[in-house]
Symmetry: C2
Subunit: 356 residues, 2 copies
Amino acid sequence: MMASPRTPGALPPPPARTVTRTNVTSIDVARLADVSQSAVSRSFTPGASVAPKTRARVLEAARKLGYRPNAIASTLSTRRSRMIAVVLSNLQNQFYPVVIETLSQRLQKDGYHVLLFVTQTEDADELLVELLRYQVDGIVMASTQLSSSLAQQIADARIPVVMFNRTSNKGRISTVSSDNLGGGRAVAHFLADGGHQRVAYIAGAEDSSTNHDREEGLRAGLAERGLRVVARAVGDYEFERAALATQELFGSLLTSRERPDALFVASDHMAFAAIDTLRGALGLRVPEDVSVVGFDNVPQADWGAYRLTTVQQDAVPMIEATVQMLLQQLEDDAVTRDHVVVPTQLVLRSSARLPK
Amino acid sequence: MMASPRTPGALPPPPARTVTRTNVTSIDVARLADVSQSAVSRSFTPGASVAPKTRARVLEAARKLGYRPNAIASTLSTRRSRMIAVVLSNLQNQFYPVVIETLSQRLQKDGYHVLLFVTQTEDADELLVELLRYQVDGIVMASTQLSSSLAQQIADARIPVVMFNRTSNKGRISTVSSDNLGGGRAVAHFLADGGHQRVAYIAGAEDSSTNHDREEGLRAGLAERGLRVVARAVGDYEFERAALATQELFGSLLTSRERPDALFVASDHMAFAAIDTLRGALGLRVPEDVSVVGFDNVPQADWGAYRLTTVQQDAVPMIEATVQMLLQQLEDDAVTRDHVVVPTQLVLRSSARLPK
């Protein structure tokens, strides 16, 4: 299926090519484009002022000569790579593609790009070595699965680091999260006010701060209304696991009075699996038989087949805070510790019965 | 909401910090860790052989001294940045998060990382400058919206480049795509064999090769069965536009015999919007009133609320081909032109009536 990478009989590339690439200077480009050397330099400096026509001429000359601006030399002098590493476990939860897209575009405005590290590894040393090798200017740790001791090691290496969507290790590493506790509590009040008596919970990863805080908020809010969590299963923030957790919670109680009448799921990603399982395998109606509430407000929560009532984590202010912290740390050449909690908000759709 | 980045009254960082960071060498680290200098070097070289215990000691010493391996100097000597740029427009179509995750993990195996360029820009010059500045070793153009002349400029700059999920500009730039033509034809045959008589089409971006080939395949396949496309609207690969396109195709024909009985949608992302609109605003049943078929087989196509019959674009072999092409070009220090077409396959679920 894969065609041959070079046509048989084609000539090998001339050795002169590499030499050309190495030796062309901005002076050669300036001469060919008939502009000043400074104009060449400005053409290759983001944000620098240069007439579009001039830049077009410079680029055309650079192309003809095979010139590449010496970005690495300029990195050496400024000690800036203009890269921010983003470490995450996977992109299956639809919140993370939104984060990556928003963060990339936001950083590009300030002349930075995102270098991706997708890892399920437990080998923090390996990852640390990689992060150091690329000399990134800062790191966003958006993986819920990596230990916060890794973040600590990075901070010890004096690289600006922000833990995104996590709150553990507070006081030692900068963190940005949404108000998971407040979000969980708001769900509890909403469900109680809607007359629900038997609230069940599907947990995310047990060791994550997001799961911890969302569940704590739910329990606190229910207690304030004289209720409690009647059943609980672990979905581990995974789709398939959440489907199994739903079976576990409802399967044996289908005709029982013990059956939960409301389900709070620690992420939208898992809530879609829960709704599919309730409606499909279990033959229950949402919200007539069971109200379902998620967390994140990913784009799919608004899709017609789910119309998921959920807690909004607002990616834009979370990312703005993250970027501000990184840039501030870079500017000060210091690792500061800061904790930003972005407010959450309940978004009402039709997967849960409303209070009368 | 944003806390102050530094506690008032806190001391500024000591100036010695910067000096330390700059002057620590691998010799200092070797001395403190009581290992050879070569062991330090190997500890920071991906794939190099070093005992885990030795590496742990090296990392601990490096941490204490604030040492950073001189990756930039090593880039200068090898002329490799170990970065592959991925250029894309957005991550809303769920095919792209899958591609990014799979590509990142695949490249990491070979010691490369993905540098992201998320851009809706028409300013190809601006993007080219950025790509040159970072001295990436190769580029994957996965944006359907950027002109192929940009890819040509990149190839002219002698940077390995692959156009991913595009086939335009064949013969000048390497491309990897799935068999869009064959996929479209398979859908046509499947719908015809299922007894559908009135097939409508929702197009993606009109200027994209994916849309062109999928539609051409559909038309050819229908013609082979004595049928034709009875109606067509443009969804531009966007969710909201696809909802409007569905209204346009069905809204005025709800009770008419002219109403289409099947709908082929050029991407799953748009097909979800089409199904929501058919079931919601238009009150039609899927597949009893209208069969719907998508293209991509994103993870959401398998979700219970949609169970979308669709054409699978297999990201894994597409990415394997892309990586092989880039590495081959890097090894040869030559820009070869290659075209890989990965077979597609119809995945049957329940959004379309099956042939008897």
